[in-house]
Symmetry: C2
Subunit: 127 residues, 2 copies
DNA sequence: AATTGACTTAGAGTGCGCTCTAAGTTCTAG
DNA sequence: CTAGAACTTAGAGCGCACTCTAAGTCAATT
């Protein structure tokens, strides 16, 4: 069994996640990383594969408009271990409801925009 | 033909649009109202039905993340009349592309969240 | 050994979209 | 006529999520 050090630097983590190094440090400061990122050379961050996986999921939460504070709540629950299983499950299910609502609102708005575009396409001059 | 004054006060406009009176004044200040809102008694705003219709469409643009500045561009074009027909059409079509991208991103993120929720539902303890 | 570039920290700054305040004016009900 | 609610303005303040700066440390290359 070969032991590969597949942990990466912050700039590599930035490339892998699509975030800036600034944002990665900011998220860590805000307590959004599950376990605290490892350090090499006693100062430079080393992102383990699991850290990358977590950041990628975190960006899914953020891209569905979960506030930083709510993400932190979730992370704090994860740190709480088995005892918080139900709470974490509930938090995600509650968030899911808001995401479906977002999709619905955007879809409704898109329909209104499409209606307006149709007017343009028919040569009508709308506002 | 009966002439009804169906223009409404700012608080009624707020109720009709779901915005606050503060926001309605803010939008007007930012140049987002098509023609300038009428005044009654030489000071209080009177929102005509067309104003309400416009604000409702404007909220569709906003709810699909069109920045205030872009909305203003559109409004400025509308003020430009027939000459800007093509530009307005293009602006809306370009915005449409971003809206579809939003829907796609949120849908992808929702799938990731659902996957996580499934783990909870199966009694697995995820992070 | 020296240079160059990536990294570190704490903290300040930015942009957006509201949201609120204060001081004064106007409308409406009694 | 009066009281109180709703309105007006200009401008300040706020919350969020970054984003950047400064001053210094560390790593890789020549």
């Amino acid at each position: 069994m070969t032991l590969v050090d597949d942990a990466v630097s912050i700039s590599e983590a930035a490339e892998l996640t699509g975030l800036s190094t600034h944002t990665l440090r900011y998220y860590e400061r805000e307590g959004l990383m599950l376990g605290g990122v490892d350090r090499a050379s006693s100062s430079h961050r080393r992102y383990a594969p699991g850290d990358i996986t977590w950041v990628l999921f975190l960006t899914k939460l953020r891209s569905t408009a979960m506030p930083i504070a709510r993400v932190r709540e979730y992370v704090d629950l994860v740190r709480g271990g088995d005892a918080t299983f139900a709470a974490r499950h509930a938090l995600l299910r509650a968030h899911r409801v808001t995401v479906v609502a977002q999709l619905d609102e955007i879809t409704t708005s898109l329909a209104a925009i499409d209606k307006k575009i149709d007017l343009y396409e028919k040569g009508i001059n709308p506002s």
